[in-house]
C-alpha cells in the first residue's frame, strides 16, 4: 500500500476538511472526465465516469452530514496532507486517453479508490487523536465497500477492445 499521508491529522475538523475536499474533488473530476469523453465520442467510458460521479456525490453527502455543526478549517489547496498531486481519489487528467476502454477506465478508478482507502487507513493508524482514529476507521470501511464494488465491476467487464475500430482519422496523420 502506497504511503498517501504526509504528516499527521490531529483533529476531527482537520480530518473532515480533508475528507470533504477529497470526495468533492473526486466527484467533480469524474463529471469533467465524463463530459470530456462525451466531447471526444467515447460514450461507453463517458457513461461509466458519469456513474462514478453520481457515486461520488453520494460520498460527498455522507461526509457533508458528518461535517454538520463542525467548523472546518480553511486549508490552502497546496497544504492538504496527502502525498498525491491531487486528492487521492481523483484520477490524474494525464492518465486519460480518448480511445481508452471501459476496462482501462475501471482500472484507473480502482487505482484511485485504493489510494483513497489507503489514506483513510493511514489516518486511522497514525493519528494521535482517538476520535480521528475512530472516524477514519469508519470511513475506511465504507471505502472498502467502494473498492469491492469496482473490483466486482472489473471482474464482470467483457473485453471488447478487439472489436473497437479505433480512430479512423488519428491525430498524427500527415496533413
Amino acid at each position: 500500500m502506497n504511503d498517501m499521508l504526509a504528516g499527521e491529522i490531529s483533529s476531527v475538523a482537520e480530518f473532515l476538511a480533508h475528507a470533504l475536499e477529497m470526495e468533492v474533488e473526486s466527484a467533480e473530476r469524474y463529471r469533467e472526465l465524463a463530459d470530456n469523453m462525451e466531447v471526444h465520442n467515447n460514450p461507453q467510458v463517458a457513461t461509466l465516469f458519469r456513474r462514478l460521479a453520481v457515486e461520488g456525490d453520494a460520498h460527498v453527502e455522507q461526509v457533508t452530514r458528518r461535517c454538520a455543526s463542525i467548523e472546518l478549517p480553511n486549508i490552502a489547496p497546496w497544504a492538504f496532507k496527502w502525498t498525491s498531486p491531487d486528492g487521492p481519489e481523483s484520477p490524474a487528467m494525464e492518465d486519460l486517453h480518448y480511445l481508452m476502454s471501459r476496462r482501462q477506465a475501471l482500472e484507473l478508478a480502482l487505482h484511485n479508490e485504493v489510494r483513497g482507502l489507503a489514506f483513510y487507513i493511514q489516518v486511522a493508524d497514525r493519528s494521535l487523536d482517538a476520535e480521528v482514529r475512530q472516524l477514519a476507521g469508519e470511513m475506511a470501511r465504507e471505502e472498502h465497500a467502494h473498492v469491492a464494488m469496482l473490483e466486482n465491476l472489473l471482474r464482470r467487464e467483457v473485453d471488447n477492445e478487439l472489436a473497437s475500430p479505433g480512430d479512423l482519422d488519428p491525430p498524427n496523420m500527415p496533413e
Binding site: 489547496p77 487528467m93 496533413e175
Partner: protein, 274 residues
C-alpha cells in the same frame, strides 16, 4: 457584487473544454480556479485574456470577464485593459507558439514595462491546434512532424532566460502534473506587484506522447527564488528545462507610474490639432 465565498468550481463557466483527454491544460485550468478561490477574488474583478491556440480557449472556460483575442496579441490587449481598468486582476493565458513566436515581441516589452499582469504560458513544445508542428520551444532534433522531418535544426527559445533579460520581475516554472505546487505558484504570481511570468510545462499527449516522461523528469530548482538577476541567470544556465519553482522575484515600480498628467486633455488636443 459577489458576497458569498466562492469555491473553485464557481469559477468554471460550464462551457465544456474540448481539449484532448489527457491534456495538461485541464490541470492548469483547475489550478487557476483554485487560486482564484483561495484569493477570494470576485469574478467581476478578474479578466482572462488570451490569443489563439489550445490553451487560449481558457477565457471561455473561466467564469470571469474574458477576451479571446488575436494570435500572439494577448499581451497588448491585456496591457490596454490593465491601464484602463487598473482595479482588475488581469490574467493572460496562451501557449508557446502564441507567446514566443508570433507574440514574442510583445512578450519582451511586457516584461520590460513591468505592467501588473499575470502571464501564464502553457508550454507543450508543439502547435497542437494545427496538428503538431514544431514551436519555438521544440528541441531542434524533434522530427515527428511532416513539416520538419529532420527536425527544425534551430536552437530552442529559452523563456525564463529571455524573461529575465527583458526585465520581468517574477519568473516561475510549474508543471500541470503538480497541481498543488502550480496553484501555490499561481497565487504568488497573481499577488506579485508587476509583471509575473509563469511558465507551465503542460504536456500535449496527442502530438507529444513522449512528454509523459516529464512526470519522472521534473525536479525542483536547486535554489531560488532569487532577488538578484545574476544569481537567477546562473540557475537558468544550469537548468535542464524541467526545473520547477519560483526562480526570480523582485519588487520594482509598476508601470504605469502613478503621477499626475502634465497637461489636460484639452491642452493635448490643442497641441496636436491646431
Amino acid at each position: 457584487m459577489t458576497t458569498v465565498a466562492l469555491k473553485a468550481k464557481d469559477y468554471k463557466s460550464g462551457v465544456k473544454p474540448i481539449w484532448c483527454p489527457g491534456c495538461g491544460h485541464f490541470a492548469v485550468f483547475a489550478a487557476i480556479t483554485r487560486a482564484l478561490a483561495y484569493l477570494e477574488l470576485p469574478k467581476e474583478r478578474v479578466a482572462m485574456i488570451s490569443g489563439i491556440g489550445c490553451s487560449s480557449r481558457l477565457p471561455a472556460y473561466v467564469d470571469s470577464y474574458g477576451f479571446h483575442g488575436l494570435h500572439g496579441r494577448a499581451l497588448p490587449l491585456a496591457t490596454g485593459l490593465k491601464v484602463a481598468r487598473p482595479e482588475l486582476n488581469v490574467l493572460v493565458a496562451g501557449g508557446d507558439g502564441d507567446g514566443f513566436s508570433i507574440g514574442g515581441n510583445h512578450f519582451l516589452h511586457a516584461c520590460r514595462r513591468n505592467i501588473d499582469l499575470t502571464y501564464i504560458v502553457m508550454d507543450n513544445r508543439v502547435y497542437g491546434m494545427t496538428k503538431g508542428q514544431a514551436s519555438p520551444t521544440t528541441a531542434p532534433d524533434w522530427a515527428k512532424s511532416k513539416m520538419t522531418p529532420h527536425g527544425t535544426g534551430v536552437r530552442r527559445f529559452q523563456p525564463a532566460a529571455i524573461a529575465l533579460s527583458a526585465g520581468a520581475t517574477f519568473i516561475a516554472r510549474g508543471y500541470s502534473g503538480d497541481p498543488k505546487g502550480l496553484t501555490h505558484m499561481l497565487v504568488e504570481a497573481i499577488t506579485h506587484p508587476g509583471f509575473s511570468f509563469l511558465h507551465v510545462l503542460s504536456p500535449c499527449i496527442t502530438f507529444r506522447p513522449d512528454q509523459r516522461s516529464w512526470k519522472t523528469g521534473v525536479h525542483a530548482f536547486a535554489e531560488g527564488p532569487f532577488e538578484e538577476p545574476v544569481e537567477a541567470a546562473r540557475e537558468i544556465h544550469a537548468d535542464d528545462g524541467l526545473g520547477l519553482g519560483v526562480l526570480y522575484a523582485e519588487k520594482l515600480p509598476v508601470w504605469p507610474p502613478h503621477i499626475k498628467p502634465s497637461g489636460s486633455l484639452a491642452e493635448v488636443e490643442r497641441e496636436f490639432l491646431t
